[in-house]
Symmetry: C2
Subunit: 403 residues, 2 copies
Amino acid sequence: DDLANGRPLLDSIEDPFVSDPVRDARLRKMTEKPCNAETPADELAESFLTPNEVFYVRNHMWVPVVEEVEADKHGINIELPDGDVRTYSIGELKARFKQHTVTAVLQCSGNRRNDMTRLAKQTNGLQWTVGAISCAKWEGVRLRDVLADAGLSLSDPGEDAQHVQFSGLEAYGASIPIESAIDPKGDALLAFKMNDELLPRDHGFPVRVIVPGHVAARCVKWVNKIVVSDEESNTSWQRKDYKCFGPNETSQDWDKYKSIQVMPITSAITRSKLKPIAKDQLGVRAAGDVPKDTASGRVVQLEGYAYSGGGREIQRVDISLDGGGTWDQARLVDDEKLEQGSKAWCWKRWRYEGTLPTVPDDDKGEAKTTFVVKATDDAYNTQPETHKSIYNLRGNLATAWHR
Amino acid sequence: DDLANGRPLLDSIEDPFVSDPVRDARLRKMTEKPCNAETPADELAESFLTPNEVFYVRNHMWVPVVEEVEADKHGINIELPDGDVRTYSIGELKARFKQHTVTAVLQCSGNRRNDMTRLAKQTNGLQWTVGAISCAKWEGVRLRDVLADAGLSLSDPGEDAQHVQFSGLEAYGASIPIESAIDPKGDALLAFKMNDELLPRDHGFPVRVIVPGHVAARCVKWVNKIVVSDEESNTSWQRKDYKCFGPNETSQDWDKYKSIQVMPITSAITRSKLKPIAKDQLGVRAAGDVPKDTASGRVVQLEGYAYSGGGREIQRVDISLDGGGTWDQARLVDDEKLEQGSKAWCWKRWRYEGTLPTVPDDDKGEAKTTFVVKATDDAYNTQPETHKSIYNLRGNLATAWHR
Ligand SMILES: [Mo]
Ligand SMILES: [Mo]
């Protein structure tokens, strides 16, 4: 019985999070209410498509409740600059529009924020390590097809059509530039499925926006309203949170810079392990030297990911085992056959095996070295060397070399 | 009389450069034959559109001779994957196709190569400083319109249409991906005019390709042949020269990386000057200290440019007067009204005024500091910190912080 003295229990009224789904225990929780949890490092470069259960969760509020049997009746209001409003149910979208499949990475603008805190200075925001990024296969209908059906001219949307604003059932909102919504090669979707399953509730059931190559903050979940406007979404998530100021800028004049949309290049080492010493090698070592608990000269195996926004493809992944002094190239995993869509919207997983440099012991008797990864995309953009040089108070886009 | 013993003078036969145009004395010559000459630093950030006379010159061979009165008869052969060939004269292109105007930067992949040599290690190639970049207004016809007229389906060019190859009268050749040629927002042109004049001979008279946002090496001059193919141009300029290897890679497996097309972000300081000391300040200084020939505490004025390829707009230009220790933002010059085209194809000029840090004298009695500029574009890509980390033998894309 849900009633106490004939009225609903107080905490079920006051806590909108009470209906949040149960999450996989492997997710690394940052906050519980709202749920923010990163994909564990061991899972990141393990598979090209991140399994739904460990796909990172970035919620700004609670998870809205839409019953599965009611899903097809869920409506999306679309409002054009001339004031015309058209409502589409999911049932209608599925029945009337061509289905489209895209594989794409989603990444939080705060991915690797903790690196910036650790290596530069304290930042404000969830202290994500390397796991606020995941990759999935998304199925749905093209946003451009739906906007055209609602009456927007794709060839000439008009001066009043500068931005496409999205709102979700829980009140989050954000927008993208009109070009990103209607670009025939942009692959922007209203998605119903994720990795061949219905969208999990944490990821927007029954429908979310996917804008490949853009920051995940624009890929609004549980979307129920779309407005084509001459203005950006007026939420603070659009106008304030997701911007980057200069290393010195403490007064945040929010209108000074553009909202983060297309993501810059980044990469990360997600796993490293020392190869066991082969028996014959052990023999040689033991014969020559006093056996020491040192890794110098041993073989290390690294793995990780590299990703660039805007559909730019990763060209090259450079690895250093000595803090950036010397470099070598990682092997890019051959995942192209799994990619779908008009551009390179996915990450490249990489693998590397190399021999650790011989490092003299420090005064604690320890030999230390630093592994570094940096990537280059097909516009030959690469990552900045230090977090200090790109420091910003909010810790957004902490894309420096990963060490 | 041009004849010696009734035959042409030997050197006028053997030297194809004899007909090269006379160049402006302000251009900084790297080589004479072929002519390679950079825009002088003083002219770079002086005007938004670089005057034709000081627009940098990058020739791979001699300058072909096309008489002005014959220009409209100059023909371009267009060959489609199915073998269809269609020839267009410039007269026909001008008469039958809609004229289109675009302002765009052209930049050599070797711009700032000398910085890489100076700050990392010797590189092979023309030792450009900051002037292998310029900006102009280009007028002509859209490449996509002409390809469509020749019979290419823009909506479905087909599997055999992967690249568009260009050849020029002097035998240089290069190619671009089909998307760059037919993208409705790509603004790729066959251009006849530059800054409201006929194309100067050094810049491709009577017609050159302009692919905004891409490396200038693809913007073939004196173009007379266009082939739509499943392969890149097979010239070494396409398959070899314009690529970037890793800092450690000495054996150049040319097929390993993609040809440079869309350019990464870069910036440069083109001019710096100390402001004269105001009389009253001079008094204060003279009263307190023994007058010294030092710049500490004086006001410095810097100017320069920042540019990112692919139509990405410059967001922010960061300046450091102490070698990267602290940062401030430059003022971006308001040139938007001069921009034409679908995307941000131009550079941003910037200006900065700041006070020099007080620097202790070194052992030679000199106080030195280092000015640094780095820029950020609207995908929040930024420049690498050191040339060492992006070093490549050919010295391509030397885009590190400019100091
Ligand atoms: Mo985010
Ligand atoms: Mo070049």
